[in-house]
């Protein structure tokens, strides 16, 4: 396959960026999207150019590092991660636009790589349970209804890639935060901190500068793990309950 790529090139966080056109040839349809970018980078290195910086780690679809905007869609046309997107999803001769996630809490580090630590800080604000660690407790000692454990697991599949923020017209991190709130809020271990968790995580996502949720649903469609909008409803429900119970965010 031969492709025309238009890639966002930006030298550093404060540099001005622009779209630059590259041509790649001999791309196998069995390559992943990242392997196609590897081919481009090898070509750039041979030519003495600066290779395109992009994030990636496991290349197995579970680490959440490799998000980029492909032709205006987070992680491209398939509902998966960029590393699990294969070139067979494209046609020979296609023009592909590749851009970094765009949100002010996700500043560009270089080219397609963005700093997503804002999501880590939302987790630090409440996305945990405070228990003594040690050997795994006997599983039967804390019964969990099957329905709850399934729903909690669905939410727990969130890999924090940031596609929800990238796809959202408001650049809101609601689906991410809601997935964490749902995952912990449905399990018995998450109950003691349930009220504080939701108010602190919502306060933190506002502090980071993410937009607000308008329930449009772009996030859920872009999510490589298919996290449902139901989680957002659960977060809202928890927040209402927490405010009634008098929970207030830590400053």
């Amino acid at each position: 396959m031969s492709l025309t790529l238009r890639i966002w090139r930006q030298n550093g966080p404060t540099a001005k960026g622009k779209m630059v056109t590259y041509k790649v040839t001999d791309i196998s349809p069995d390559m992943s999207f990242l392997e196609m970018l590897d081919v481009l980078n090898e070509q750039l290195i041979v030519q003495g150019d600066d290779p395109v910086a992009f994030d990636h780690d496991c290349r197995e679809g579970i680490c959440g590092m490799c998000g980029v905007m492909i032709n205006g869609e987070a992680h491209g046309p398939q509902q998966t991660t960029t590393c699990q997107l294969h070139m067979r999803s494209f046609k020979d001769g296609d023009k592909i636009d590749i851009e970094p996630w765009r949100a002010s809490p996700f500043p560009v580090i270089k080219d397609l790589a963005v700093d997503r630590r804002a999501l880590d800080r939302i987790i630090q604000a409440g996305g945990y349970i405070s228990v003594a660690t040690g050997t795994a407790p006997e599983a039967h000692s804390t019964p969990v209804p099957k329905k709850d454990s399934d729903a909690a697991f669905d939410a727990a599949t969130c890999i924090g890639c940031g596609a929800c923020v990238a796809a959202c017209p408001n650049a809101s991190s609601m689906l991410f935060t809601a997935a964490k709130v749902t995952h912990l809020g449905l399990l018995p271990q998450g109950q003691p901190e349930r009220n504080d968790r939701v108010v602190n995580m919502v306060a933190q996502q506002d502090r980071e500068g993410f937009g607000g949720c308008t329930n449009i649903g772009e996030c859920s469609h872009a999510c490589p793990k298919g996290i449902s909008m139901e989680t957002i409803s659960r977060l809202n429900h928890d927040l209402l309950g927490a405010l009634r119970a008098g929970a207030r965010p830590k400053s």
Partner: protein, 220 residues
Amino acid sequence: MAKTSSVFKKIVMAVSGILMLLFLIAHMVGNLHIFQGAASFNHYSEWLRTVGEPALPPRTLLTVIEIGLLVSVAAHMWAAISLWRQAKRARPQSYVTKKSVAQSYASRTMRWGGVIIGLFIVYHILDLTFGAANPAGTDSTPYDRTVASFQNPIATTVYVITLILLGMHLRHGIWSATQTLGQSNRRRERTVSVFAVVFSTLLIAGYLVVPAAVVFGLVD
């Protein structure tokens, strides 16, 4: 901080929206008095101003509704504007290429649609409540003002377009409020969506029968 969080603003938006929606239902049903003739329509308008007398002072019901609506409109606009600004700040640099896969026309037009509906309400009150912007003038009966307004093609077109826009605003608004108040889940999502479409369509149809009746000469 808790009261200024983006989710709290959405709750304000949802609750004020629901209050205005209840008013819209009552207003639509009230409008249908026009099919009972001029006397009934004008009498209904008079009744709204005198209900509860002499136990209650004149205009008690209307004053309560007016205050409720003013507070709701102000709260709805405050929440909308501050969330709009927050969203703008959250993405100062837009994408060169962006494809939308889930948003509907209704959800995309919420903000500007809301602005248009707000401006329309001002015109609507000047037209039909005060008569200042009405061809029949200020010292006319409500029935005369309604008929005069809908005999003007421009006023009628503006009314029809804005009401359709309002219907779409409600279609996304009903779904969004259900989410915001934490009442939606995966099983209910479809039901809520279908309800929102059916409800908005019926409500707006209820409004649009009045200009249709005037235009087609059933009411004059």
